[in-house]
Structure formats: structure tokens, C-alpha cells
Assembly symmetry: none
Homo-oligomer: 498 residues x 2
């Protein structure tokens, strides 16, 4: 065996430990919601974490990386493997154990304070620990130094290769266009009415229906399952075991239906990775942005299209005749595409969503650069929110305290959500050019042509190609946010009768 083969074998065991850790986490989220103590589970998780860290940072890995770098004839997959292993090794060895422990401990305390602050809508409860958490992230960025500026280094953890400048160059031109577009839609004198979505929909029936949908979308229940959890998520517990969760809200079926389609999109990505990559470090989506491109594509470009509803609406009517029996499909389609500035990111429509992200992206940059202070966040959040969305959160629970990310030390994660929409739009426009009958497919309840294209061009490759290479391979050009604006205009002018 040469060095790269040795590394591959060595990391197969690490991947298994990683999958075990995911399994413990999945079980905790899905099955332990009423538990009085998580002590036992938390000790198990730390143990696995310790075992992984020990293996990744072993001298053997450093030595094999050096040897592998000397090998002349690495193929594409082996090169990518070496790239990702080196990345993991650097991440694990550049951070002193003390810092890692401190970050872990702080994030537990921060999650606690965040929860309390959020419940009481009192940012001051969260402020101290968030200050500490931000300082720790800066320290982390200083040590890792993947890029000259700290924020880019943090972004790189979630979107390998991306930098602040690159993202700013993508977001900045689209920002005024989005603000204008939202205003324009709001001037319409014939807006959709979403009151039909605010009625009672039996949660068990929603859950049942969500299974019908994912089965039709070719989510294979022989290699995964769907459960309920407080926050929907997707987890791969093995290379052939990708599970999703959803939640139901009895007066808002969108949470379950579109949440399910969203997670299903994530899952189809992981499920489509080719067998050759199973149990290797490449058996993952290549970046958070590309991952999100898949979930958003199914959720919005497919799941909120007219053709999707031409197929599904009769089924929905059968499930919920009390609400939908006499309600026209076209109006329901318009209702699920209502655009309305609102406070909570996770409930935002696909048009305003990007503005929620741009707000966080800009605040994070200034926070990490030390240009603004943690204590100024609530006020800055609100004024920025007004600039972008024209409304001001009535309290911090619906403002700066709404997301868990910062409490977990995840700074640099948010921009990947919007990148996902943009990547998704560009890929989807490209697919439509190659397979123009896709919308006709949806009308017939046929979703495998799109899936096959994505499997062939995105899914199978796992993390072999970085996001920027992948988008060029598929579409022949760099990430171009105009595709997203084009999509929005083409879709929403008719919906808003403009």
C-alpha cells in the first residue's frame, strides 16, 4: 500500500467513529427530548470526540501526508482525498487542546444563556458569554489562519475556499436589486392571500402526507427514515443511512411540507454519493453552500412551482377536504409563494430570505474585525433590518436572539445559506436548458429526471470538487447571482400580477 491508500484505510475508521457520533447526536435530538439527564450521552459523545481527535492528530497522519505529497501519480479522487485529509489534520493540530475545550465548554454555557435570553427577550443575559465566544472564534481564526483576514478563515470552515471579499462581491450587487424587488411586489394591487395556510391542518395527517411526498421524490426509505424533532435536520449515520426530521405546526402546514422537502433535498445529495467514496473523507457534501443549493432547489424551485402543485394539490385536497375542497389550486399556489418581509429567518420566503442573510453577513464581518461591539448588536440589528426589509423587530427574541448559531460559536456559517440559493438557481437554470420538459415531469408526479441529472453532476462526486470548481464544471461559469434574480422575476411577476 502506498501512503494515500494507507491514509484512506486509516480514515475509514475515523469516518466510522464520526458516523457513530452522528448516531448518538441523532438519537439525542429525536429520542431524548423528555430526558431529565443527558449526562450519560454527553460522556459518550466526548469519548468518541476524543478518539477521533487522537486519531486525526496522530504522528502517523502527518508522516503519511508528507509521503503522499511526494507521490506523482495521484488520480483526481486521491488528490481530493489528500486535500481534505490535510485540511482535517491542519484544523485538528493547529488548535491547542485548551482552546478546543474552552470553545466546547463556552458553547454549552452560551446555548444555556441564549435560551434564557431568548425566552425573556433580554439580550443582556446573552451578552457576556457571546463576547467570550466571539473572542474565542477570533483566537481560533488567528491560529488557523487559512486566509489573511479572520472572518474569511471562519467562513472557510463551512465553505472551503470562499472568502469575505468573494462573497461580498456576490452579495453586494444583488442586495439593492432584492430590496427593490420586494418593494415592487408589495406595490402590487393583486397580492396572494395566504390565510388558507393559517387554518387547522391535522399534524398527524401532515406527517403522513410528507411521507407520500418524499417517496415520490425518490427518497429511499430503505436507506433512511423520517422522524420528528424540535428543529428539522438531516444526518448521515452511515454512508447508506441518511435520515431526515421534520416538525409539524397545526396552523401552518408549510413548516412540515416545505421543511420535509428541504431536508429531503439535503438527504438526496448524501444518498447519491458514489460507492467508491463511501466511508472516505469525501463522502460528504462538498460545502454548506452546495448542500443548501440542493435543499433549496427541491424546496423552492421544484416544491413551490406551479407544476408541482398541479400534481399534488388533489392529494392535499383529499387529506384536508375541510380546508381545500373548494379552494382553487391557482390560489393555493399563490399562497405558498407569498412574499412578505417578516422577522424570523427560518420562516422567510425565498425572496426576502437573502436579505436576512446579508444582514448577518455584514454584522459578523464587523464583529470579527472589531469594528462593532457585541453590546451594540441589538440596536444595529434593528436599524439594519429596517434598511433591508423596511420593518423593525418588536423585540430581541424576534431579532438578534432568534438563531442558535452564534451561541454555538458558528460565525461564518450564515452566508452559506444564501450562497445555496444562488448556486441552486444557477444549477437549476442549467438543468432546465438541458431537460426543458422538467416542469412537465412534475405535473405527472415524475421527479427522477431532475434527480438523475443532479446525481450525475453533483451528488455522486461528494467532496471531490470544491464548490467553485463544481459550479464551473456544471454550468461553464463562475457563481453568477443574476440567475437567481432572473428566476425570481420570471416567477413572481405573474404571481403578483405585475
Amino acid at each position: 500500500m502506498n501512503a494515500i491508500e494507507e491514509l484512506k484505510e486509516y480514515f475509514a475508521e475515523i469516518m466510522r467513529l464520526h458516523y457513530i457520533q452522528v448516531t448518538l447526536g441523532w438519537d439525542q435530538e429525536v429520542n431524548m427530548q423528555n430526558y431529565k439527564s443527558l449526562e450519560g450521552r454527553s460522556k459518550q459523545v466526548s469519548l468518541i470526540e476524543k478518539l477521533i481527535h487522537k486519531r486525526v492528530t496522530s504522528e502517523k497522519v502527518g508522516k503519511l501526508i508528507k509521503e503522499a505529497e511526494e507521490l506523482a501519480d495521484l488520480n483526481e479522487i486521491e488528490s481530493a482525498m489528500l486535500r481534505e485529509i490535510t485540511r482535517e489534520y491542519n484544523l485538528a493540530t493547529k488548535l491547542p487542546e485548551k482552546l478546543v475545550t474552552e470553545i466546547a465548554e463556552t458553547s454549552i454555557l452560551a446555548a444555556k444563556d441564549w435560551r434564557e435570553a431568548r425566552a425573556k427577550s433580554d439580550f443582556s443575559i446573552f451578552q457576556n458569554i457571546l463576547e467570550k465566544s466571539v473572542e474565542l472564534q477570533k483566537e481560533k481564526a488567528r491560529r488557523l489562519k487559512t486566509h489573511p483576514d479572520m472572518y474569511s478563515t471562519l467562513i472557510d470552515l463551512y465553505e472551503p475556499g470562499a472568502t469575505y471579499n468573494w462573497i461580498a462581491n456576490v452579495f453586494n450587487p444583488i442586495k439593492p436589486k432584492l430590496i427593490d424587488f420586494v418593494k415592487k411586489l408589495n406595490y402590487s394591487s393583486n397580492k396572494p392571500d395566504d390565510s388558507i395556510l393559517r387554518k387547522y391542518y391535522d399534524p398527524d395527517k401532515q406527517f403522513e402526507l410528507s411521507f407520500e411526498i418524499i417517496k415520490k421524490l425518490n427518497y429511499d426509505l430503505g436507506y433512511g427514515r423520517q422522524d420528528r424533532s424540535t428543529h428539522p435536520f438531516t444526518s448521515s449515520l452511515a454512508s447508506m443511512d441518511t435520515r431526515i426530521t421534520t416538525r409539524t405546526s397545526e396552523n401552518y402546514p408549510n413548516e412540515c411540507i416545505f421543511g420535509t422537502i428541504h431536508e429531503c433535498g439535503h438527504a438526496l445529495y448524501e444518498m447519491g454519493i458514489k460507492k467508491e467514496l463511501h466511508d472516505t473523507i469525501l463522502c460528504n457534501g462538498t460545502s454548506m453552500g452546495i448542500h443548501e443549493s440542493q435543499s433549496r432547489m427541491w424546496e423552492n424551485f421544484v416544491g413551490r412551482s406551479k407544476e408541482f402543485w398541479m400534481y399534488w394539490y388533489p392529494t392535499f385536497q383529499k387529506y384536508f377536504p375541510e380546508n381545500l375542497k373548494n379552494y382553487p389550486m391557482q390560489e393555493f399556489y399563490r399562497a405558498v409563494n407569498t412574499v412578505q418581509p417578516s422577522f424570523i429567518r427560518v420562516n422567510a420566503d425565498e425572496v426576502t430570505y437573502g436579505l436576512h442573510i446579508i444582514l448577518r453577513f455584514e454584522l459578523e464581518k464587523e464583529l470579527i474585525d472589531g469594528k462593532i461591539q457585541v453590546k451594540e448588536l441589538p440596536q444595529l440589528w434593528n436599524s439594519k433590518f429596517e434598511d433591508l426589509l423596511g420593518i423593525i423587530p418588536p423585540n430581541d427574541t424576534q431579532g438578534v436572539l432568534q438563531d442558535i448559531h452564534w451561541s454555538m460559536g458558528s460565525i461564518g456559517y450564515f452566508p452559506t445559506y444564501f450562497l445555496g440559493n444562488l448556486y441552486g438557481a444557477q444549477i437549476y437554470q442549467n438543468v432546465l436548458k438541458k431537460i426543458p420538459q422538467l416542469p412537465e415531469d412534475y405535473r405527472k408526479g415524475e421527479f427522477s429526471n431532475l434527480l438523475n441529472y443532479l446525481r450525475e453532476n453533483v451528488h455522486q462526486h461528494g467532496s471531490v470538487y470544491r464548490a467553485s470548481d463544481l459550479i464551473k464544471r456544471i454550468t461553464g461559469e463562475e457563481l453568477n447571482p443574476n440567475y437567481f434574480m432572473d428566476y425570481l422575476e420570471k416567477k413572481y411577476y405573474p404571481i403578483y400580477n405585475l
Copy 2:
């Protein structure tokens, strides 16, 4: 730290790995029933097994055991800990890693084949892998050699200290008595009529009701949960996380109700182990037989008593008025105590149950001794079944394929089930002498006096005392199967009007 303290700390990590393994197994049984591939999970389980094996067999353990044996002032718990650690060490060092891995991997594949064979009632699907599994168990017994004969060595894995001869000496005298007793009951001209139990009972309502029961029995849902699985079982996923499963049959509520009480009895044992023993090697029931004594006690001595039903019957009537509204409690009590030779062990009444076990005990002995072959099992099963119970299974699903145990390589496990009845009867007769008002408690829906007695005398000790010591500590005498026969006669003559 002295040697025993070092061992304790060292084994805390091993216990955590063990709990992780249990979690992987629990998840597989509960959540992966429809999976097309268990490959990923199987590799994870083998990895954990390997890690445990490596730690248990490390030179450090051997060295510390020697040192600990020299320590003069070990207390009762430390002595027991050293005994169990030595046992584990011997078990693990005597088995080569290759054999351990092969057994783990085979058992996962065998479970898959068993499931298919059972579904199709086709033993031939299971035969090959079972042959392999039996050979691996024989190889294991040859290596371990805790006792001169292989079967005793396997039995000792589940019932430490017990041998084939010792058990045969307990079972043999009671075997003809049981056969006679079953016949006698069958001669009665006034037998219970269990047709009331063969009506339709909504499975979801059964499941819901089973939660009411376990809560009343003081099963704490903050430290465990109940799910459904093909085969009911109890698992401790941490020292404070003991989960149970049940199954529902729409035309036979006994499966869910008594199955739930049975598993709840197992869980109460594990949940009652004192904090001092958490995360130590003693944080387990001391033997399968004692474990079964707890589950059977709650299932039969409590759950099938008249006083239990005096309390619960009105609730049952509320859940299932269509069947029970006008049906008298006394007849229902008789119905759930119907004695009737039947095919499925887990559904057998408490009188015929022992005969199901004796059948397996005798077959296992001959199988391990090489006196019979795997391929002969279906035929031998059926003919022995006729000898003991007077009836012949109509197919292998209801015969030799009904139990998961052999697929898991668990040979030597079955006899502990019947030992459990016998231990249970002896302990329960003893409790009744000390707390004669127990049946009155049940009438009032009060089950904590029994639980407190069991916690004090059985549960809290975990594996500190071996089964044979425990029964002497509690009852002042060795295991005596006459208590069980006495119990049966006292209970069933009135029910059968004899």
C-alpha cells in the same frame, strides 16, 4: 490511586463504549427494520467491539488485576468489581480478535437472514448462516473452557456459575410435574374462555394504554422510553437511560400489555441500581436468570393477579368499551390466565412457558455436543414440541424460527428464562411473607411497596452478588423449584375450578 481504583476508572471508559454499542444495537432494532443494508451499522458495531476488546485485553488490565489481588482491604463492592473485571479479562483474552470480529459480523448477517426466513417461513434461508454461527459458538466455548463441557461454558456467559448439570437437576424433576399439571388443567370442565382476547383491540390504543401502566408501575419516562420493535426487549443505553420496546397485535392485546409489563420489570431492575455503581462493570443485572425473575414477577405474579385486574379493569373497559363494557372482571381475569399449549414462547402462559424452555435447553445441549445437526432442527423441534406440549407447529415461523436468539449467537441463554420464573417465585413468596398487604396495594393501583422491596434487596446491588448468593441472602435458601409449583397450584386450581 490503588490498583482497584485505577481499574474502576479504566473500565468507566469501557462501559461508555459498551453503552455506545448498546445504542447502536437499540437503534438498529427499533429504527432500521425496513433497511435494505445494515453494512454501515455492522461496521460501526464491529469497530466499537474491537475498541472494547483492545482495552479489556490490554496488558495494563492484566497487571492491575494482579496488583489488586494483593490488596488486603477490598470492600464488598471492590471485591465484586475485581471478580467481574477478571471474568471479562479472561473471557476477552482467551478469544482471538479475529474470532470476536467474525462473531459480531456473522450475527448481523444472521439477523437479516433470520428475519427473511421468518417472514417467508423458510428455514433454508437461515440454515447456512446458523450453521456458521453454531460453529463459531463452539469455537468460542472451546477457547473459553470455563467448564469442562462446551454447553456449560456458554450457559455461564448468561448465568455466571451455572452449569448444564445444575440446571438439568433443577429442570428435570419439574418437567413431568409441569406436563401433568397442564394435562390436569385441561381435564377441567370449567375452563376460562379467552375468546374475549381474540377480538379487535386498536393497536394504537393498546400502545397508549401500555404507557399508563408503566407510569403506574413507576417506570420513569425521564430516564427511558418505550418504542415498538419486532421482538420486545430492554436496553440500557447509559446508566440512566433504560429503554423498553413492545409490539402490538390487533387481535391479541396480551402481546402488548403483558409484554410491556415484562420489559418494564427488566427496566426497573436496571433503573434501580445504586448511583455508586453507575458506569462501573457492576451496573448490570447480576445474571439473566435474576433479570428474568424481575420481569416475570411483574408480568405474572403482579400483572396476572386478580388484584391487579380489580384496579386496571375499569380503565381497560374505558379504552375498549366495544369489547369489555359488559364483560365481567372475574371472567377477564380468568381469560388472561388461560393455560393452553401454544406455539410461540413469548406468548405462552406462565404454566406452559417452562416447557418451551426445556425444549430449547435440550436441543441446544445436543446441538453443541454435535449429536444433532442444524438442518435437523425444524423436524426435531416439531417432534419434541409434540412430546412436551402435545401439539405440532404448523410451520417454521411458528416453530424453530420464532426466536431471534440463535441468530445472535446466543446459545445457552434460553434456560435462564425458566430459571427466572423459579427465582421469581421464590423471591415473591418471600416478599409476600414480609409484606402481606401487597395484593391489597395492587387493588388500589399502588405498586411502590413491592418496587421498594425489590430495589432494596435486588436492584440496587447490580452485579455485586452472584445469583446463587443473592437468592440465599434474600430467602435464606438455595434455588428451590417447589415454590414455583406451589404458586401454580395455589393460583390455577381456583381459576380452573379444580
